[in-house]
């Protein structure tokens, strides 16, 4: 998997992770992958709702010991 950018958002709480994600996606090209490392459990529903608009898609999510990992594709 070719990750174009990574964001370490561990320790940040809602709504900062989504804000930083949105800003990063803005500067990426269609098809690029963004990797997020997040500790805030609420970002999951935030991301899901945000991606419903059609600008991005959560293509993978997994758990590390102390954080969640999301791979987002810019559409």
């Amino acid at each position: 998997m070719n990750i174009a950018q990574e964001l370490d958002l561990k320790g940040f709480t809602c709504p900062v992770p989504l804000l930083r994600t949105k800003k990063a996606l803005k500067n990426m090209a269609s098809g690029d992958l963004l990797k997020l490392m997040i500790t805030d459990p609420n970002t999951k529903s935030d991301l899901a709702r945000f991606c419903q608009r059609g600008s991005c898609q959560v293509i993978e999510e997994s758990k590390n010991t102390d954080h969640d990992i999301y791979i987002i594709k810019k559409l």
Partner: protein
Amino acid sequence: MQSHLPQAPSSLVAKIIQTKTAKPNKEVAILAGHYCVAPQLSELSHEGEAEHFSFALGIAVYRALVKQSITARLILWVNDIGISSEQREQLKQQFALPQNYVSILQHAQIPVTTVEVIFESASRNKASTLLRQKIKQNPEGFQKLTSEDPDLVRCIDLDSCSIEVGKSVYAITGPEGLPLVMKEGSNPKCNLILATLFYRIAQSNPDLLFVNIFNDIYIERIRLGIFVAKQVYELPQPFINLFCDDDSYFEENFTEIKHKEEADVV
């Protein structure tokens, strides 16, 4: 940052007028320009591009409605949570609209005093009191759980709304059927705080149409806030919701969220 006004889309203005006519609302409450004052949320301050655009769009909509002789209110909701109580008190006493917002108002020839400022902390304090009353009136309508329940759906806010261990949680069944946390320990969650804001605005004139104009990162919060407003406070008022990027917006009206009576029937 530019102070010129975006064009209030005629289709939006027509929709507001149509909604007013269809549901004899006498007033439109425009919530626009919401921003945070806490230093750790500086990315969401009034200098944020989406916040600036939200306020400018709100002013444009307000001006278009007033031109058509429609009574409208301009409401600025300021997040003053995440600062000390002393700083909060000082903020309230010395509050002035941010200069970039003043410039937008000046450009639109709208007096600064038109803007009603409501602080989030005031809604938060009121939320606890009102929730207590609601639980007393209808205890079956709420779930009392423990904060460790893995199925709980939360919407966290900074500092005041961290997940607490071993605390009581008050929840209702959320839009997806899972328990939606409204209060954890002594902390009302942002969905309840937002619902309380809507409730308090509607108290002054129940014949109201809400027009929310927010940064699009808040879409989930607004959805849950409206859900709680309809379920807990039983607000019948219609909502039109616009979500902003830096220079554009989209409309999302959460049609899946029903008024309480409609939801009960279903």
